[in-house]
């Protein structure tokens, strides 16, 4: 991809941003989702409602927050509610259309692990845990997931079910009494994936510019299915790239500058 003037990371964020619409009420996970949601807001979806679990509803930060509770989220929000109200009225109440999550480990059915690598009681690596994710995954209208591809991250079997995607596929969600759609989209640094309507296994729908099928398979722990009508993800526009780069530059200056 050296002849293209954008990175795989940038393509991932921009492809993820494009999935959001102006009408969405979006519960934003920290990290990659936060960048994508704010690029959407600063380009094609100026009226999107971004919600962070700290209770900030309709926030419009000028720089990306390092935590989900940076002061700027509150300063720019339509309103800031308590955390119990956030989870009870707004999330559990069914008012959020999209939940945007990242993952440490992901399987082909969109089940996510951010809790432990290895055994829970005797972990190889203790990760931070789920935070809001278990109920975001079940209460939002649908779930978008974004993560960089790697054999360590995209695995055949996750070590812990932090949040439930489609279980073992098919109608597993309905069997558990869930009425929401669950994961409907996965955006990686190499491709855009959507679940098969029946099996619910993620299928590659488009490859990012310059990416090969082999690259996708080499960085994924399960056998990848490619759509019959596989397409290429449109390259980032100048506006998308400039918006993302400016946002990242402002963010870097703000986070490193505090101690100066």
């Amino acid at each position: 991809m050296s002849d293209l003037d954008f990175t795989a990371d940038e393509m991932m964020t921009i492809a993820a941003a494009r999935a959001l619409s102006n009408d969405d009420i979006c519960f934003v996970g920290i990290g990659a989702p936060s960048a994508a949601c704010n690029v959407a807001r600063l380009t094609h979806a100026p009226d999107i409602t971004l919600i962070y679990e700290s209770g900030t509803i309709g926030t419009a930060p000028d720089v990306l927050p390092l935590s989900i509770g940076d002061g700027e989220l509150c300063d720019t929000a339509v309103t800031t509610v308590s955390v119990p109200e956030m989870f009870r009225y707004w999330l559990q109440g069914g008012r959020v259309s999209v939940g945007f999550l990242g993952a440490a480990q992901l399987d082909k059915f969109g089940n996510i692990n951010t809790t432990v690598i290895g055994d829970y009681d005797n972990p190889k690596t203790r990760l931070p845990g789920g935070g809001g994710a278990p109920e975001i995954a079940s209460s939002c209208g649908e779930i978008f997931i974004t993560m960089k591809q790697s054999l360590r991250g995209m695995v055949d079997k996750i070590d812990f079910f932090t949040s439930f995607g489609h279980g073992t596929g098919g109608d597993d969600r309905e069997k558990l009494g869930m009425t929401t759609k669950g994961p409907t989209l996965l955006i990686t640094d190499l491709a855009v994936w959507r679940p098969d309507p029946e099996t619910k296994e993620f299928v590659v729908r488009s490859l990012h510019p310059g990416v090969t099928r082999e690259q996708v398979q080499e960085t994924c722990g399960w056998t990848v299915i490619f759509a019959d009508d596989l397409t290429e993800t449109p390259v980032p526009t100048e506006l998308e790239l400039t918006t993302l780069r400016d946002l990242k530059a402002r963010t870097k200056a703000a986070h490193e500058g505090a101690a100066a």
């Binding site: 990290g31 509770g69 989220l73 308590s82 079940s138 009494g177």
Partner: protein
Amino acid sequence: MAKFQPLKDAVAENLKDGDVVAFEGFTHLIPHAAAHEAIRQGRKDLTLIRMTPDLVYDQMVGMGMVRKMIFSYAGNPGVGLLRRVRDAVENSWPQALEIEEHSHAAMANAYEAGAAGLPFATFRGYKGAGLKEVNDNIREVTCPFTGEVLAAVPSVRPDVTFIHAQKANKRGDILVEGIIGVQKEAVLAAKRAVVTVEEVVDNFDDVHLNACVLPNWAVSSVCVVPGGAHPSYAHGYYIRDNAAYIDWDKIATDRARFTDWMKENVLDQDETVFETRVQKLKGDA
């Protein structure tokens, strides 16, 4: 009725060895100064509760004060893992740490149930989630009206809660503004509550009619500790010291470096150091 007192006395009077204690703050208004005083007083065998245990619980765990931690996200937000908590969970250093892990929705509901004087909280959650398999305190309850099966967790009822807040008035009423998190619920759920504040003002005549105010009779002690949330922040006073959160990741990596840092920055200090730490963070607050 709240009494104004020095932080040292408030911690000595309200926090005992073996207590169940919450030092709350949902990324904002985290009572770092109060927790550092608890570290200096060498409390032991504590059960720590917090939705988002970050640096200060990493420090208390690393100092060997903690028997058990009840939480829903144990990370350094936006930076990574809590390395001292990891070392305790994975290697029992400096001692073994029992954990009781929940989701945010569960903890938020459990605090609210505690504040409401209920024995448990119920909510629609944990569907398909692995925590149900590893935490005996996640159970189910059936709605007597609809038959819907809902999640149930015990309410949170700390012996003592510590929070930081922006202001007290002269009567000892407390004003909390900005990201209020579970500050109100954590205070009302606890038997005793200690609040550190940035400043004391004459009255709250100019605050909004629906502002989050905790009446003085709902609080045990009020301590004036400017900067007492650092490296967390106090909205309107100073911004979050994100650089300090990033630096902590390096400090906490190594046991010896951690121990040296704690001696220099916590054990050999008192709460007056917090005011100087936030001087450079006041511009944009």
